[in-house]
Each structure stands twice: as C-alpha cells, then as structure tokens.
C-alpha cells in the first residue's frame, strides 16, 4: 500500500517530481517576494525617520499607507 | 465623455491590432504545412509530390488486431478509418502504445502504403476516467 503510493506503478518519479517542482518553485518565489517587500518597508521607514519631527507628523497624519507600514513593522520588531 | 485624445488613441490601437492580426494570419497561412505535426494516411494517399527521403510523421489510430511483434521489432497498421499505412519499427514502444489508441510514427516513407519508423509516440485522448468505468463505456 505504502510502496505503491510512492512508486505509482513506475510513474511515481514523474508525479512526485512535478508536484515537488511546483511546491518548491512556488515556495522560492514566495520567499523572494517577501524579502523584497520587507526590504522596501524598512527603507521606507528609514526615510521616514530621517525627516524632521514636524514633517514626520504631517506625513503620518496625511498618509494612511505610511501609518499602516509603521504599525505593521513595529508589531513584528 | 471621451475626449478627442482618448478617441485618437482607441483608433490607433484598433489599427495596430488589426495590422498585427492580419500579418500573423498570413505568416501562419504560409507556414501551415510545417506547423502540422503529422499527416494522416488519407493526406499521404492524396499527396502528389511525396518525398521518400525526407523525414516525416504519420499519425492516426493503431488498427485493432494489427500489431505483430517479433524479435526484430513491431509491425502495425495506422488507420484514419479511410486509409491505412503499414508501419514497421524496431525499438521500444511507449507505455500507452496499444491497439485502438492514437499513435504518431516518425520516420521515412518507403512507398504510399509502407512506412519505416525510427520513433513511435503515443497520442492520448482528452478523456479521463477511473478504471471501474472501463467496461461501461464500451471500449
């Protein structure tokens, strides 16, 4: 039963390698995308920190996105 | 609602797409012969200038009860239900090669009715069924 599940009458290697390839390449693209996203969020925050205090306040009041990124990143850190 | 600029862009786009489609259509039309992956026995039967030393592919169904295999290889008949071609081949056939199923043979024509293949590909159909239904569907 178990060995048949793996060998699949000789087709196993093709079936498993195609499913494996889909899962692995999907996972790699996911990691890569997440890494870029995190990198950009960090750079954005850095940019925000360098602004003068009054300006920073102004940005946070006017930009929902800046707010959101700040909140999300302070949660994870 | 649409400004003049927008209208101009729409017209430009339609013209461009139209030209693309027309040109691609003619390219495909002129390539038609080489895009065909295989020829049916009927097409070969009707063709005037057959080349016997160029590689080509013949496709169709393996005729029922036509497979003869011996130590040298296999011989079988490809049919499209109108015309037939005898194929001889030495080598291993794919798993799905069976009588009544689709097949493509690659090789050279000896004459209009005889084909020497150096490669056999099995063509499967678009029906997917569990094995229990095999008897119900009748083939």
């Amino acid at each position: 039963m178990m060995s048949n599940f793996i060998f699949m009458n000789g087709y196993g290697i093709f079936v498993w390698s195609s499913f494996g390839l889909v899962l692995i390449s999907g996972f790699i693209l996911f990691l890569k995308t997440r890494k870029t996203l995190k990198k950009y969020e960090k750079e954005f925050l850095l940019e925000l920190q360098t602004l003068p205090e009054a300006k920073k306040k102004h940005v946070l009041e006017n930009s929902k996105i800046a707010n959101k990124i700040l909140v999300e990143n302070s949660k994870t850190n | 609602m649409l400004t003049k600029k927008v209208k101009n862009r729409i017209i430009f786009l339609i013209v461009v797409i139209f030209i693309f489609i027309i040109s691609i259509f003619f390219v495909l039309k002129s390539l038609n012969e080489s895009i065909l992956y295989f020829h049916t026995p009927t097409e070969i039967n009707q063709k005037k200038n057959l080349s016997f030393d160029k590689k080509m592919r013949v496709g169709g169904m393996v005729k029922k009860k036509s497979i003869l295999s011996d130590s040298k290889g296999v011989k079988f008949i490809i049919t499209d239900l109108k015309n037939e071609i005898i194929v001889s081949y030495s080598g291993t056939v794919p798993n799905l090669f069976a009588e009544g199923k689709g097949v493509i043979a690659e090789g050279k024509l000896k004459d209009k009715k005889f084909f020497i293949a150096d490669k056999i590909l099995a063509k499967h159909d678009e029906n997917y069924m569990p094995p229990e239904l095999k008897t119900k569907s009748g083939n």
Binding site: F5, M8, N9, Y11, F14, V15, S18, F19, L21, V22, S25, G26, L29, F30, T33, R34, L37, Y40, E41, E43, F44, L51, H58, V59, N62, S63, K64, I65, A66, K68 | V6, L13, I17, F20, I24, L36, Y37, F38, H39, G59, V93, P94, N95, L96, K101, I104, K119, L121, A122, K123, H124, D125, E126, N127, Y128, M129, P130, P131, L133, K134
Partner: protein
C-alpha cells in the same frame, strides 16, 4: 471615476485580503494534495501518470489568464493613461511567468511516460514556449528600460503582440494536427473528465489562484511603497 483604484485605497484593502488568504491557504493546500495524490482514482489508460494533470492544467490556465489580464489592463492604461494599471501588470507578470514555466516543465514530465518523449515541436508546445518568451521580454522591459515613457510604450506593445498568441495557443489543437490532446473542459459542453477527477482539479486550481493572489498582493504592495517613498518628501 477611477478613484477607487487609487494606490492608497487599494493598499488598505490588500492588507486585509492578504491576511485572509494567509489564514486559509495551508488547510486548502493540504486537502487538495490529499485529493490529488491519494483519494482520486488513477486513469484507466494512463494510470497514475494522469495525476500530473492536477498541477499541469491549472498552471497552464493561470499562465494564460495572467497574460490576458496584462493585455486588457495594458490597453486600458494606454487609452485612459492610468499608470496604476502598469503597476498591477508589473506585479502580475512574475506569477504568469512562473505558471507558464511550470506548465511547460510538468507537461514535459507528463509527456515522457505517456507520449514517449520529453518535448516535441508541435503547435501547442511551441506556442506555449512563445508565451514564456513574451513573459520574459515583458519583465526584462520593466527591468532594463530606464526612461519611463518609453518603458510604458514598449511594454504595451509586447502585451498586445503577445495577446495574439493567446488564441493561437487555445486553438492550436483544433487548427493543426498536434501531439497534444484537445481540451478536456469546454464551456457549455459536457466535459470529458470524470467527476472524481474534476474535484481535485478544481481544488488545485483554487490553491494556485490563492497562491498567485498572495504573490500579486505582496508584489503590488512593494510597488506602492516604492512610489510612496519617492513622494514622501512632497507630502
């Protein structure tokens, strides 16, 4: 009219959708894999090799669907000059490329045990290869053309040219003789896949759609942050 499509508005909605997909993705993935690899029956002719269909067919569909979306958005963006659509396209293209690539490779892995060959130059396989090249040139155009106006024009041109390839892929199996079999699922006609195999196919499709949506959301967020970073000083 297109206020709803403003980056800020979309960004806030996206974060919520992303969280939702994250929470349901893994359960659905596991269930689909169990269905595809264990519970569904083997095919009467192809045996277990037919299980490759569960990843091959959805990948191919989504590869085509992504390119169709890119083309439609490119045309709208060109006519109405909505730049935001280009950012959506830029985020869609990598997923489309991945799915097209997976469709080709899994198709190859399916072809070897059933047809008896990894690759042939028949109309379906060749036109699918063209689709992959269109995706690659589309992505490269965003990467390497620095002048923005030129980049937008070239990318629209690639999208529209590539769109003509889409019906060729779809109908290649009907217009010419190919090694590839005709479509199993046609709208409006009773399809030729048994219901016990249809369920895993649809659930794998759902998994890949959710995955594609997840990647798209992350890519698109990255794009928006990049734009906002440029304009942060002007706020």
């Amino acid at each position: 009219m297109f206020n709803f499509f403003s980056p800020t508005n979309i960004f806030l909605i996206l974060s919520r959708i992303q969280k939702f997909i994250n929470s349901i993705f893994f359960p659905i993935l596991i269930v689909s894999l169990v269905f595809a690899l264990i519970l569904s029956p083997p095919d009467r002719i192809q045996g277990d090799a037919m299980r490759i269909m569960y990843v091959h067919v959805p990948s191919a569909w989504l590869g085509l669907a992504c390119f169709s979306a890119i083309t439609v958005l490119s045309i709208l963006a060109f006519i109405f000059k909505i730049k935001n659509f280009f950012y959506i396209n830029k985020s869609l293209a990598p997923i489309g490329l991945l799915f097209t690539f997976l469709a080709i490779v899994t198709g190859s892995l399916w072809g070897e045990p059933t047809w008896g060959t990894w690759w042939v130059w028949d109309a379906r396989l060749t036109s699918m290869m063209f689709l992959m090249f269109f995706y690659i040139s589309y992505i490269l155009c965003f990467k390497f053309i620095k002048k923005e106006q030129l980049m937008l024009k070239v990318s629209s041109l690639i999208a529209i040219l590539g769109a003509i390839n889409l019906p060729i892929i779809k109908y290649s199996v009907d217009w010419w003789t190919t090694l590839h079999q005709p479509a199993s699922i046609k709208l409006g006609v009773s399809n030729s896949i048994h219901s016990t195999m249809m369920l895993p196919l649809l659930s794998m499709l759902l998994v890949l759609v959710l995955y594609g949506a997840l990647i798209f959301l992350m890519k698109y967020k990255t794009e928006i942050i990049r734009i906002k970073k440029k304009s942060i000083k002007r706020l």
